[in-house]
């Protein structure tokens, strides 16, 4: 029993954090949101070169995985910097394509960060149900997968872009038909996607908290920093508590990859991030309510991640179906 990150994992997080800080992600996100993904793609390449996507890919195909704990470490940092693009979807795609016939063809390029992939998961809701068949960033993804009841398809194209409440997320329908890749793709892609989403949400929440703490320390009213008022402090303390109790669920899920643990991590981290977003918006006052101010880039993502890869209630169902933590 040693439930703590090791020195290498902490160093990995720190190096990603430094790289992403230097990348000035807010301006990259704004380009991406406008449909100009050039800088986002360049950043993607650097994230790939740092080995992030390789963590979901077996060594046989150019990867370093599967290493879910390290992947969670990385996704916390990606969330902290609100990195745009189909990050979670690329991880899910790597898992869906892990069978021997397909792996050779797709995985080396995904692992290296050369290919962005996206996935429409039609299996999770009946055909035509809200969101079924939609994929994130389909117009920039080089590999567009449709997970349908009859198998895994390589979609031939995508429909028009629909905007998301998170300006960095560009929603696209994937075209029907295309190439049937396999009738029986691996089953654990949903777990990996939920884990990555949970970690990303945790990072989003931590960034929102940090930015808000900075703001209330600097902003003065009535001659004192507003952060000295108990009404302000206690909301931030609650945000910190929610995030600190989401963190062990995220890493615990990465260790066990038990579906109930993963679902608990997903719902808890996403709700903690979303509550933190609501607090962050409120404590910034009107400036936080503007599109121009960078806080908006994290606020929208906290909302979007809540329902990505499983609504809170779907995840709770998975928790009640499992028996996580029982000896």
């Amino acid at each position: 029993m040693r439930f703590a990150l090791d020195t290498e994992q902490r160093a990995f997080a720190a190096s990603l954090h430094a790289m992403l800080t230097a990348a000035d992600t807010p301006s990259v996100i704004r380009d991406w949101a406008r449909g100009d993904p050039a800088r986002g793609r360049a950043l993607w390449g650097r994230i790939g070169a740092a080995g992030v996507f390789a963590l979901a890919v077996d060594e046989k195909y150019g990867g370093a995985g599967p290493r879910p704990v390290d992947l969670a470490v990385a996704f916390v940092e990606l969330g902290r910097h609100a990195v745009p693009g189909p990050l979670v979807e690329t991880v899910a795609a790597a898992v869906l394509l892990a069978g021997p016939a397909l792996a050779e063809r797709f995985l080396p390029s995904i692992a290296a960060g050369h290919t962005l992939a996206t996935v429409a998961d039609r299996e999770r809701g009946p055909e035509g149900s809200p969101g079924a068949g939609r994929a994130l960033d389909g117009e920039v993804a080089g590999v567009r997968l449709v997970r349908a009841a009859d198998g895994l398809w390589l979609a031939p194209g995508h429909g028009p872009v629909r905007r998301s409440l998170d300006p960095a997320r560009r929603l696209t329908e994937l075209s029907p038909g295309g190439e049937l890749l396999t009738r029986d793709p691996p089953k654990d892609a949903l777990g990996w996607a939920r884990l990555a989403t949970a970690a990303q949400a945790l990072g989003v929440g931590l960034a929102l908290l940090d930015r808000t703490v900075d703001h209330v320390r600097r902003r003065t009213q009535f001659g004192v920093p507003v952060g000295s008022f108990q009404a302000v402090k206690h909301r931030l303390a609650d945000a910190r508590i929610a995030l600190e109790f989401a963190r062990p669920l995220v890493f615990g899920a990465a260790v066990t990859m038990d579906p109930a643990d993963v679902a608990a991590a997903k719902v808890t981290a996403c709700e903690a991030a979303y509550r933190t977003a609501v607090t962050a918006l409120h404590l910034h006052g009107a400036i936080g309510y503007t599109a121009e101010y960078d806080l908006s880039l994290w606020l929208g993502k906290a909302r979007a991640l809540r329902t990505a890869w499983g609504t809170p209630e779907e995840c709770r169902d998975a928790v009640l179906d499992g028996d996580a933590g029982r000896p």
């Binding site: 703590a4 963190r247 260790v255 608990a264 928790v319 009640l320 996580a324």
Partner: protein, 379 residues
């Protein structure tokens, strides 16, 4: 990151499980906040102690098993999963014992800890006063020098377990002229049956005398019962409250077991959809607390709680506990109000959680100021 237990830890867990299966009383004991229940719980502590299960984390010489934090957590998981009784000695074991282990003398440890481990001596805390609650440093009960010791005079209140306990520990002002009010406080232990002590039980919400007022009128305490140096009481007590808010007060095992019971109750009642979310939240919260605690236990000793991190913990479990019991009572429907119901006393007990051991407002101030770095303000 590794959640697997060593074979030795698994063996320890299995040994605890087997012992508990053979010894846990088949019928629940009467409430420990009654005279009969207190006696029954005291006897249970003796039974635990006879086989070294009452204080597994203590050194062997005082009745423990030298179990590390992980094994203590495993023991607690097994203990509560087995439906074993509440722990009547918890105030002493959780608060005073860590203080003695850090700040006491060898003589004090040898004298105080073994009878505490066996339940022969049950301890109450004597922190609060009528005018000193959250602002504990404003306390006015005095310790005055006397030949060979001190004389205590003052009024303590909200003293948990004191209605039936044997001894108590707390802070007293030994130097009223100290320049700052946190200075000049001394940490002392005293006998609740000593001359000059009047114990007036206070009935909790459900009418049971779960705490008491203590009136002290020149109560003599020998020097041997001062913990640490006179005047150092505040610093020493803060290390104790760190323990109280930290791992030792509420182990995750208790909430894992409670969440299991809640889920079973929900299923018994036909898994109603309206409670689904709340039951799932209880299950997830217990798991989160378990893993949070494993993470704390995995941190090197020098950077683990006590400290401001234990404030996160205290707010979490105290609010969690209330939500869990509210869900249980709601699931019971109109029977939920019955005072003799399975969940009723737990609900009453849970309501005190955000108040004792430092109110949750104090904890949030600590989180905001010491973990987030926000400026101090008016309380």
């Amino acid at each position: 990151m590794d959640l697997t237990l060593s074979p030795a830890d698994e063996e320890f867990r299995a040994e605890a499980r087997a012992w508990l299966a053979a010894h846990v009383p088949a019928a629940p004991l009467p409430s420990l906040e009654t005279a009969d229940g207190f006696a029954a719980h005291r006897a249970w502590e003796a039974e635990l102690a006879a086989d070294r299960w009452s204080v597994v984390s203590w050194p062997r010489e005082y009745g423990g098993r030298d179990a590390g934090l992980v094994r203590w957590l495993l023991f607690e998981e097994e203990y509560w999963a087995a439906g074993a009784p509440a722990r009547v000695g918890q105030n002493g074991v959780g608060l005073l014992a860590p203080t003695l282990l850090h700040h006491g003398t060898a003589e004090q440890r040898a004298r105080v800890l073994p009878p505490m481990a066996s339940g022969e001596e049950v301890w109450a805390q004597a922190w609060s006063e009528p005018e000193a609650g959250s602002d504990l440093a404003s306390l006015t009960s005095r310790a005055e020098r006397a030949p060979g010791g001190w004389r205590l005079t003052g009024h303590k209140t909200w003293s948990s377990r004191a209605a039936f306990a044997d001894r108590a520990f707390g802070l007293f002002r030994s130097r009223p002229d100290a320049p700052r009010r946190h200075e000049g406080l001394t940490y002392l232990m005293f006998d609740l049956r000593a001359p000059g002590v009047t114990v007036r039980p206070i009935d909790r919400l459900d009418g049971r005398p779960a705490f008491a007022e203590l009136f002290l009128d020149g109560v003599f305490v020998p020097d041997a019962d001062v913990i640490g140096a006179p005047g150092e009481g505040w610093r020493i007590a803060m290390s104790t409250t760190g323990d109280e808010r930290g791992l030792t007060l509420r182990s995750p095992g208790r909430y894992l077991a409670a969440a299991d019971r809640l889920r079973a109750l929900w299923r018994e009642r036909g898994s109603p959809a309206w409670a689904r979310r709340r039951v799932a939240d209880a299950v997830m919260g217990a798991r989160a607390y378990q893993l949070f605690t494993y993470a704390s236990a995995s941190r090197p000793l020098e950077c683990s709680p006590p400290g401001p991190e234990s404030s996160l913990n205290k707010v979490f479990w105290s609010e969690y506990d209330i939500a869990l019991h509210e869900t249980a009572l709601d699931l019971l429907g109109a029977d939920g109000e019955a005072a003799d119901g399975d969940w009723a006393e737990g609900w009453v007990f849970s309501l005190a959680g955000p108040i004792y051991a430092g109110t949750n407002e104090i904890q949030r101030d600590i989180v905001a100021e010491r973990l987030l770095g926000l400026p101090r303000g008016r309380r």
